[in-house]
């Protein structure tokens, strides 16, 4: 089953098109990796898919329903189904880690008892290994810790779709592997769909079911992860070989 369908989509800012003529779909309960060189438009595509940046042309359908970017109600429905991990975490600096993770609960389920909220937040913080830092403010954390906290926030309301912009950038290999396991567990155990922007070949190989490669303002390649890793397309080989060289 396809949860997202993209047709003839152009994305960009104002007059400048960053990516054009995109057609692809995202399968439900799968992890799709979006890869491409820096500046190829990965974050821009993500921004459009999460309803923040109206497309310049084309359409996106979420579970068959066209996303209307000028309808607050339609965007509200989209926001209720998704969680987003931003490239630079975007935790609220004025709130502690606990409050950041609890925020979606407090705003959308204010009637939920505090004890229940506490249990949910602590479970989530445990999962990302941040239980001991719940009273810290974001500026007191390292970049990787902020990432994990932001992931906890994105998951707290158990959305069916989670978008991650470089979840493992800046993480050590062990933490990064732990994060990948978490994603896999959510996918397999809870049927969550992930769309993950990433540069890490190891992570792609570990978690991705599908891969979308962006290059020169369009989709260069789309396919199953295994096929892409075995592909003898020169660009893909170069991309992955460089990456692996870089990793060692």
């Amino acid at each position: 089953m396809e949860i997202i369908n993209v047709r003839d989509l152009d994305v960009g800012y104002g007059g400048t098109v960053v990516l054009r003529g995109m057609n692809f779909s995202i399968a439900q309960g799968r992890i799709t990796a979006i890869i491409g060189a820096s500046g190829s438009g990965k974050s821009t595509l993500l921004k459009t898919m999460i309803g923040l940046l109206p497309p310049l042309a084309g359409e996106i359908r979420l579970a068959g329903e066209r996303i209307e970017f000028d309808s607050e109600r339609c965007l509200g429905r989209l926001f209720r189904r998704i969680g987003v991990l931003y490239q630079n975490s975007a935790l609220l600096g004025a709130l502690t880690l606990y409050e950041n993770v609890a925020l979606p609960i407090r705003m959308h389920h204010p009637e939920r008892p505090r004890s229940e909220e506490r249990a949910a937040v602590r479970t989530m913080l445990d999962r990302v290994g941040l239980r001991d830092c719940e009273d810290k403010y974001p500026f007191e954390l390292s970049g990787g810790m902020r990432k994990r906290a932001a992931l906890a926030r994105a998951m707290i309301l158990k959305p069916e779709l989670i978008f991650c912009d470089e979840p493992s950038a800046g993480l050590d290999p062990i933490t990064s592997a732990g994060l990948d396991e978490l994603l896999l567990e959510l996918r397999t155990g809870h049927g969550v769909t992930f769309i993950v922007v990433t540069h890490e070949l190891r992570s792609i190989a570990r978690i991705a079911d599908r891969v979308l490669v962006l290059r020169d303002g369009r989709i260069y390649h789309e396919g199953d992860c295994a096929d892409i890793l075995r592909s003898d397309d020169p660009y893909l080989r170069e991309f992955f070989l460089r990456k692996t060289d870089h990793d060692h």
Binding site: K47, Y86, Q87, A90, L91, L92, R106, M107, P110
Partner: protein
């Protein structure tokens, strides 16, 4: 037409905020509990000392300059009327408004603009939280509660300035001066001063939010937005003050 578009966006934000505050007063949702108290404290803490000091000094300055003139005509006692009316109707609202622009408006713009740079505003949106409501309603409710206290404090210390000058420069006994102030100043004067300050306070917070939410992207935009917010607020205050003068007198 950029200027027209800017004006449209400003009034659209104002209208939205009035709606959001009304909505919040009916159903206490979409705002973090405790945030209003936090804002009240921050605003009071930031503005009371400086506004108290400024109005006290202005009270003394105006009194000294006027006392010299009044003395020539033997009209010493009218210093009380002059100070009472001038402070309460005009100087306190104007000075309080300008100080609010510098202290509170600037910090609101800096905060919101920084949140835009770090994608915190985007994060709020995709969590289904409306930033214009979540961030602005507590600040607007707080400014509404802070202004009356601020005006009472500023009126009081401004007149104290007059009392001191009258006592030590003109030799008017304190009770006589106070009685004269109370006779000259009506409740209406106080309410006009309060109403004006309230309008200025709202103008400051809305202008601050406007400059924060609509700043150009990029970290260097934060400083620019903050400066522009203060300039816009002060221009609005002076313009509105002029409108008040036409309407009221």
């Amino acid at each position: 037409m950029r200027p027209l578009e800017d004006i449209r966006r400003f009034f659209a934000l104002l209208a939205d905020e009035i709606y959001y505050v009304g909505q919040y007063l009916r159903r206490r949702r979409s705002v973090l509990p405790g945030e209003i108290v936090h804002q009240l404290y921050a605003m009071g803490y930031r503005s009371f000392p400086i506004i108290g000091l400024i109005t006290f000094l202005i009270g003394i300055t105006i009194s000294l300059t006027s006392a010299a003139q009044l003395k020539m005509f033997g009209a010493d006692i009218y210093l009380a009327d002059l100070i009472g009316i001038a402070m309460i109707n005009e100087l306190v609202p104007l000075m309080a408004g300008i100080m609010l622009a510098g202290k509170i408006g600037a910090s609101i713009t800096a905060e919101i603009a920084a949140m835009k740079v770090t994608e915190e505003l985007d994060a709020l949106k995709t969590m289904g939280i409306v930033p214009e409501k979540f961030l602005m309603v507590p600040r607007l409710v707080a400014i509404t509660l802070v202004v009356p206290l601020l005006v009472a404090l500023a009126d009081f210390v401004g007149i104290i300035g007059g009392v001191l000058v009258a006592r030590f420069s003109l030799g008017t006994p304190v009770p006589v001066f106070v009685r004269e102030v109370l006779a000259a100043v009506t409740l209406r004067d106080f309410l006009i001063g309060l109403g004006k300050t309230m309008v200025f306070g709202w103008a400051v917070v809305i202008a601050a939010g406007y400059k924060g939410f609509f700043m150009d992207r990029g970290p260097e935009g934060v400083g620019k937005a903050t400066t522009e917010s203060v300039v816009l607020s002060i221009a609005l205050i002076i313009g509105l003050d002029c409108v008040f003068a036409f309407v009221l007198y």
